[in-house]
Amino acid sequence: MIKPNLFKKPQNKLEGGTPVINEENLEIPEELCVLCSSCGSTLFRRDVENSGYVCPECGWHFSMSARERVEYIADKGTFKERDADMSSKNLIDFPDYEDKLEKAQKVSGEPEGVICGECEIEGVRTCLFVMNPDFMMGSMGVVVGEKITRLFEYATEEKLPVIGYTVSGGARMQEGILSLMQMAKTSGAAKLHSDAGLLYISVLTNPTTGGVTASFAMEGDIILAEPKALIGFAGPRVIEQTIRQRLPKGFQRAEFVLDTGFLDAIVDRREQRRYLGKMLKLHCEEADI
């Protein structure tokens, strides 16, 4: 399933060059074709879907819903979801939060902003969580924090690795301080998992910012990113407002973050299953491979 906003390049005004396209002028029916928001090529929707939402022309990684990503990365039919029905409450009576939640549920077709479970990747059993860009920009509230914490705790009990895909605008301000506390809670669970000698690989996708960057996204034994993903603590707009100047081109993109030494590798989405499978096997007992 493709949603119309899926192909919008997340706004980063600092990097110009995005072609302005008036969709009304397009002659090809929209159902069949999409435009790459990075290079402007007209692409067959089916081709894009079949290549994991990566532009075959320029390699731009389109946004991908959590559900589609789970299907894309887990071995077929192996995913068993955990805590699937948890949904948020308005714990601090924040104005209009219920409406926002309802809207996010409608837009995403999911009860909350992360999908957690276990599966096999290239035949190796692992826990997997995938944050959802379509649910309030992947913001982290109590339920997102709780689901990820429970997954780490389950993985620690079951002696399983964890693979986590992040996408987030940060902590969810409608939950006030309780959203901030999720950073501590998830970090604690990730630490206990690590202290048990278990592997955690985080995969940072566009964009990963704020409280998620400052907690479990950066706590992986191995930290990966998708090409050109925006990764940072402060968002580009906040930094620009603070320093009152424009940011250099490419700032906070995955390639820049790799150069500054904070990523292990950038892995093209189409290569990720193979890469993760290989990494998981490298952390198995010799007898199990």
Binding site: V142, T149, M181, M183, G232, P248
Partner: protein, 261 residues
């Protein structure tokens, strides 16, 4: 006072800074500098000293008392090296079984190019990660502003104590108003909505204690003596616990805040 008035009070010029607390509560304080990686971030003052007769490690976000000092200290907004200095000294405290006392007073971790280049997100993440299993008691006292992840990075603590007019929030009321309502003038409404006052945080189980500020115009004397008693008592209790008990209680404390039923 309404929520925003308390936010304003927490930021008021002349309000006691972390250095004032160190001067008034800690005997024989010696500052220790640097993260041994990159540099010495003066937004964080840290060192060793005694709380009464108890050796402690002290780490505080220091805004500076004069305009010049505020410049030097970046008004208490740390860079990654500040958080790394804090973590280095926490690990040192763990080694020597010294309790850790943190003073939190920051509008947030600094949002700048250099801070990002040096891994601000990672620096905060590492503190959260390591503090959760630090084998020595940690108490964090919020003395002014408690700005988001930049505050939390010194507050994964066994006990959190809030000054009556300190606040602690996921985002500043101004930031919240401008993002959510596209209008920074709605900061008062945002301050109410965010539930960021000491009283709110106590009700939400984020803070264990609130220290009254009755005597603020007399140089915080009353605050210092209340705080000295409370800190000494709490550290003494925490030191009775085994490492396992201490860490289990700390984990459970954060585990149950806003717990999903």
């Amino acid at each position: 006072m309404d929520a925003y008035e308390r936010v304003a009070a927490s930021r008021a010029k002349g309000r006691a800074t972390a250095q004032d607390y160190i001067d008034n509560l800690i005997i024989d304080f010696e500052e220790l500098h640097g993260d041994r990686r990159f540099g010495d971030d003066k937004a964080i003052v840290a060192g060793v000293g005694k709380l009464r007769n108890m050796p402690v490690t002290v780490i505080g976000q220091a805004k500076g008392r004069s305009a010049r000092e505020r410049g030097m200290r970046n008004s208490g907004s740390p860079h990654p090296e500040g958080y790394r200095k804090a973590l280095r000294l926490m690990k040192q405290a763990e080694k020597f079984k010294r309790p850790v006392l943190c003073f939190v007073d920051t509008s947030g971790a600094y949002p700048g190019i250099e801070a990002e280049k040096r891994g601000q997100g990672l620096a905060i993440a590492e503190n959260l990660y390591e503090m959760m299993t630090l084998k020595t008691p940690v108490i964090s006292v919020f003395i002014g502003e408690g700005g988001s992840g930049g505050a939390l990075a010194l507050a994964v603590a066994d006990k959190v104590i809030m000054l009556e007019n300190a606040f602690y929030s996921v985002i500043s009321p101004e930031g919240c108003a401008s993002i959510l309502w596209k209008n920074a003038k709605k900061k008062k409404e945002a301050a109410e909505a965010l539930k960021l006052t000491a009283k709110d945080l106590h009700e939400l189980d984020v803070a264990e204690y609130v220290v009254k500020e009755r005597d603020t115009d007399r140089g915080f004397r009353n605050v210092y003596s209340q705080l000295e008693n409370l800190l000494y008592e709490e550290f003494s209790k925490l030191r009775q616990m085994s490492d396992d008990e201490l860490l289990a209680a700390r984990y459970e404390k954060f585990r149950k805040i806003g717990r999903y039923e």
